[in-house]
């Protein structure tokens, strides 16, 4: 015999919230990994600029800036991660409550609506749900503000990468190598931009 149909439904409709958090977390992890790569690339660029000497003074300065940028980005992402892990608790509360409320509703349906105490159950349930969702909404707002702030930081990273490209042109014999490094920077930063855009569109709660 199979499990009753309505229960299958429940599992599907409420798995959405947790799935959203998982997606947000995965996106953050991807950005963290990329930030780590930029940090390494910037270190390499600093050494390369040192070897190029006077021909790459400007490039060296920019590489140092890019390294600081990668470190700032890592800090931003750590803060975002903390926010999402906090939201797992809130979402779990909502999911658990919705699941219980649905099973209880099924029990009340089977028993007939005249069962005593039903109105109290609804009132308590709605109040708790509203409270949990308000908490999630506040978290969502905080997360979005933090993503926007990170987007501004990445804009700055983009400017640094473009400037590095221009500086690379004055690198004399090292110019092709410096050009390669600055192109890599630009690509990685574009990748982070895309990830942040995806992140900015994710919502912890449905509107």
């Amino acid at each position: 015999m199979n499990a009753p149909e309505p229960r299958k439904h429940l599992a599907q409709s409420h798995s959405g919230e947790l799935a959203r958090i998982v997606r947000v977390n995965e996106e953050i992890k991807a950005i963290v990994a990329t930030a780590f790569r930029i940090n390494l690339m910037a270190l390499n660029a600093i050494f390369l600029a040192k070897r190029a000497g006077n021909a790459a003074l400007g490039f060296g300065v920019l590489s140092n800036e890019l390294r600081r940028f990668a470190q700032d980005l890592t800090r931003h992402m750590a803060a975002l991660r903390e926010m999402t892990s906090g939201s797992v608790g809130s979402v779990t509360g909502v999911v658990q409550h919705q699941r219980n409320a649905a099973i209880l509703a099924e029990a009340i349906r089977l028993s007939g609506d005249q069962v005593k105490g039903v109105r109290d159950v609804h009132r308590r349930g709605l109040a708790r749900l509203a409270q949990q969702q308000a908490r999630l909404r506040a978290l969502d707002k905080k997360l979005r503000a933090a993503v926007e702030e990170t987007q501004q930081l990445v804009e700055l990273g983009g400017v640094l990468a473009r400037s590095a490209k221009i500086e690379a042109a004055y690198g004399g014999g090292f110019s092709p190598a410096l050009m390669q490094v600055s192109t890599d920077f630009a690509e990685v930063i574009a990748q982070i931009k895309r990830s942040l855009e995806v992140l900015g569109k994710e919502r912890l709660v449905k509107d």
Partner: protein, 246 residues
Amino acid sequence: MKQAHCIYQNEDHRWLAIARDPGKPGFIVDTNEYLVMSGEDALLCDPGGIEIFPSVFSALSSECDPTRLSGIFASHQDPDIISSLALWLEFKPDLKCYISTLWQTFLPHFGGDESTFVPIPDPGMTIRVGGLELQAIPAHYLHSSGNFNLYDPKAKILFSGDVGAALLPADHNDLYVQDFSRHIRHAEGFHKRWMGSDRAKRDWCERVSRLEIDMMVPQHGAIYQGADVQRFIHWFSALEVGVLRG
């Protein structure tokens, strides 16, 4: 759907057995739930798992106003016993749950908070329901390490949890044991494998032999009544338990 059967009544003192659910998914072990009512109070014994909650709730509501429910007695910590706890609390947040002191901090994983649980000490305790004084009787290691039966001296009913449990074939729907020797075959494997301690078993047999019992109502399978209660105690005392095979 499960149905509530009245197995004892003396004025407002009643015992309901919520047993046999033909609509239950086959992958879930069949369970019995029991409700003891007296005056304005009702105590639910081993309310069961999450999956069967709607069925138990509606069977209970058909015979009793569910807001009268004042407590839950959990013989032990198993999911088929008490995983529906959060749902009962959703309906009635001030419910008290009586459970062995051993499991007091484990059960909140199913639901409830520090105000929910009333720990039962190892020697047992009295649980008041309306005008009744029910006794939590130790049945440790049968099978759970912190395990209790519930005895109603007025009705002479012993709720025995997993002791006396029989895993009956789907077409065995009798509420009461009809033929002890045929019935007990379905209990043998379960008791040999699940009950871990011979010493605890002998202890239990001795303890319950001193009680006056008209009905022994287990959490799985049919109800023992009259002479079948003593038959069960004799059978159990002679059974080798804690056996992995054979």
